[in-house]
């Protein structure tokens, strides 16, 4: 067996793969946060709970309605996004004139309610979600064995991230969005319905979290608290990347997932904390974040 730096290549590539998987979720989640923050100036603390709701939606679709993974991939984000639209209309929209920290507090409260309610109903033990049969098994890449589902998660989330980037940075719709981020009053004066755009943007960001939840369901179990700790790591990812750029959020998400995976190989004790340490270092050197502009 070959080794790199005294580590068997099998273990190295294995952890690298896990890192890329985690990175896919970090990227999808921090992308959603960045999109929401860009227009609403709110940090969506409910994001972790909405990610969990995506996974539960997939579980319900399969076990109550018999709709498989591929249906869930479409329907669950729509359902979670719809709850997001309701939350934005009923609650968040009342807070835009206030200090942005109230948005953080409100979404934190919502996260407690949602997570508490799911835990009350389903306990803290995870519910299993079967992998779609088309993606079971794996492929031998020569240097490692790649489970098909994991490969699919990486490719799919990368595709979603790039599509989101394309829509926001390269299309007409995206240009409205970017303009509204700069100056909502002016955009409204040009006849764009900015409040509706804000609502839909929140719904979209939340739907991204739901989509991440569906993709996570077969890998991790469906668990009421699956998003609770993840969201804190994603916050650190967002601080490291800086909220200014969409591509920045994607790159930082994948990159930090890989770094975390490598830490598991070389210094496992630090794998839980490495992202926070990197955040501290970045704050010292470049407080606005790697891709952030003041």
């Amino acid at each position: 067996m070959t080794e790199i730096f005294g580590v068997p290549t099998q273990a190295l590539f294995g952890q690298l793969l896990i890192g890329l998987i985690n990175g896919s979720f970090y990227a999808l989640l921090s992308l959603g946060l960045a999109v929401i923050f860009g227009l609403l100036n709110i940090i969506n603390f409910t994001h972790g709970a909405q990610y969990m709701m995506g996974a539960f939606a997939a579980y319900f679709l399969l076990n109550k309605l018999g709709l498989n993974y591929w249906w869930a991939l479409v329907l669950a984000p729509l359902a979670v996004g719809a709850t997001g639209v309701i939350v934005e209309r009923l609650m968040l929209s009342r807070l835009y004139k206030l200090d942005h920290l109230y948005g953080l507090l409100l979404t934190f409260g919502l996260a407690l309610i949602i997570q508490g309610a799911f835990r009350h109903q389903y306990g803290s033990a995870g519910l299993p979600y079967a992998m779609p049969e088309q993606l079971t098994g794996g492929t031998n890449l020569g240097f490692m064995f790649l489970p098909n589902y994991r490969g699919w998660v990486i490719v799919a989330s990368l595709a979603v991230c790039i599509a989101t980037w394309f829509v926001i940075e390269r299309t007409k719709l995206g240009s409205y969005l970017r303009a509204a981020t700069e100056n909502p009053t002016m955009v409204q004066a040009f006849g764009v319905n900015v409040p509706r755009m804000v609502t839909l943007t929140y719904g979209f960001g939340v739907a991204l979290a739901g989509l991440a939840g569906v993709m996570a369901a077969p890998i991790y179990q469906v668990n009421p608290l699956m998003g609770a700790d993840t969201i804190i790591v994603v916050f650190a990812v967002v601080v490291i990347g800086g909220m200014g750029s969409i591509m920045g959020a994607i790159l930082t998400g994948f990159g930090l997932g890989v770094v975390e995976g490598l830490t598991k190989v070389f210094y496992p004790e630090a794998s839980n904390t490495v992202i926070f340490v990197i955040m501290a270092l970045v704050l010292m050197v470049r407080p606005q974040g790697l891709f952030g502009s003041r």
Binding site: L104, R119, H120, I232, V239, F276
Partner: protein
């Protein structure tokens, strides 16, 4: 975060009236606390006092400095661990153990503060939360914290070699003395020139900078003071419950202190005390219902943010002011 009732320059007559109101409220509060152990279960009252001090320390930062820390549990929990370790393993008397715990969280406050004040607003909240999570994982893994079990059966010992803290009533009045000292210190800080500058920074940081204040220094000082006082609360709590555990370092605890302050009224002097007693009482009744406690907490957050931003004391004070025709 700017308190919803914007700070307005009072005429000196109003200042005198406010000082009188504070003095009366303080006397009532102290009188209530002195008789409390004969009315309610003393351990409950001590728990509430520790959390009240914790919330007051947090309010110093949020209500008067405008900085929302979402990681204050790290100071509460870390001080608890150090105090418990000092009392149990090193065999220090309680006063030195508490001092050691407070010192530890003050030092932690310097390190975290230096990093966190590099960003403002929402980022500040996220950074403190992330750093607190790092401290949490450190406490899970570090050998001296005892991992999932925590540090149990911490000896209470004799304060200054004289006062036997295993007597619940003696312990209660020691805790009350610690709380009152911390409370008065915070009151003094808020009403000092330092506190005034802090409020100025909360209202308009660029203007404070243009007036020549090194706002970074003020914010760091406020952060460290708040961390140290939160540590004092955590250290006392460890002696009272003879336990230091992961619960006190977890992010749910950071959320809880935000909730206490928000519910009681951020930026008010007595609000955090009221908020702490309200939440601890609620916890007492709802704790066995598990997730319902979490759901209720979340609901209070939502209601406070949407409809009740001044909190209990803030609303009360506004109502009194209106009645006086001010």
């Amino acid at each position: 975060m700017a308190a919803p009732d914007q700070y307005q320059p009072h005429a000196s007559r109003d200042d005198a009236a406010e000082a009188r109101y504070h003095r009366r409220a303080f006397l009532v509060m102290t009188a209530l606390f002195v008789v409390a152990p004969f009315v309610v279960y003393p351990v409950f009252a001590m728990k509430a006092l520790c959390f009240a001090l914790f919330a007051c320390a947090f309010n110093l930062l949020l209500g008067f400095g405008g900085l929302l820390s979402f990681g204050h549990a790290m100071f509460l929990g870390m001080a608890g661990y150090v105090t418990a370790h000092a009392a149990k393993v090193w065999g220090l008397p309680p006063e030195l153990a508490i001092l050691a715990g407070t010192a530890a969280s003050t030092v932690l406050g310097v390190v975290v503060g230096l990093l966190a004040i590099r960003r403002q607003g929402i980022y500040f909240a996220m950074i403190t939360l992330a750093l607190a999570q790092m401290v949490f994982f450190f406490c899970v893994q570090a050998p001296f914290t005892g991992g999932e079990d925590g540090i149990q059966s911490v000896p209470r010992g004799k304060l200054l070699g004289v006062l036997d803290l295993s007597n619940t009533l003696v312990l209660y009045y020691v805790v009350l003395a610690i709380f009152t000292t911390g409370f008065l210190l915070i009151y003094r800080i808020i009403h000092s020139p330092f506190g005034q500058v802090l409020k100025a920074i909360r209202e308009n940081e660029p203007r404070a900078i243009s007036l020549g204040y090194r706002t970074e220094h003020y914010k760091l000082a406020a952060f460290v003071l708040s961390a140290g006082l939160a540590g004092l609360a955590g250290a006392t709590k460890a002696i009272v419950f003879q336990l230091a555990s992961l619960t006190d370092v977890h992010w749910t605890m950071s959320g809880e202190v935000v909730l206490m302050t928000l519910l009681g009224g951020m930026g008010t002097i007595f609000g955090p005390v009221v908020g702490a007693f309200a939440i601890i009482t609620m916890e007492n009744y709802l704790a066995e219902l598990g997730s319902w406690f979490t759901i209720t907490q979340g609901a209070i957050f939502v209601v406070c943010v949407l409809a009740f931003r001044r909190g209990i004391l803030g609303e009360l004070e506004a109502w009194l002011r209106k009645r006086r025709g001010g």
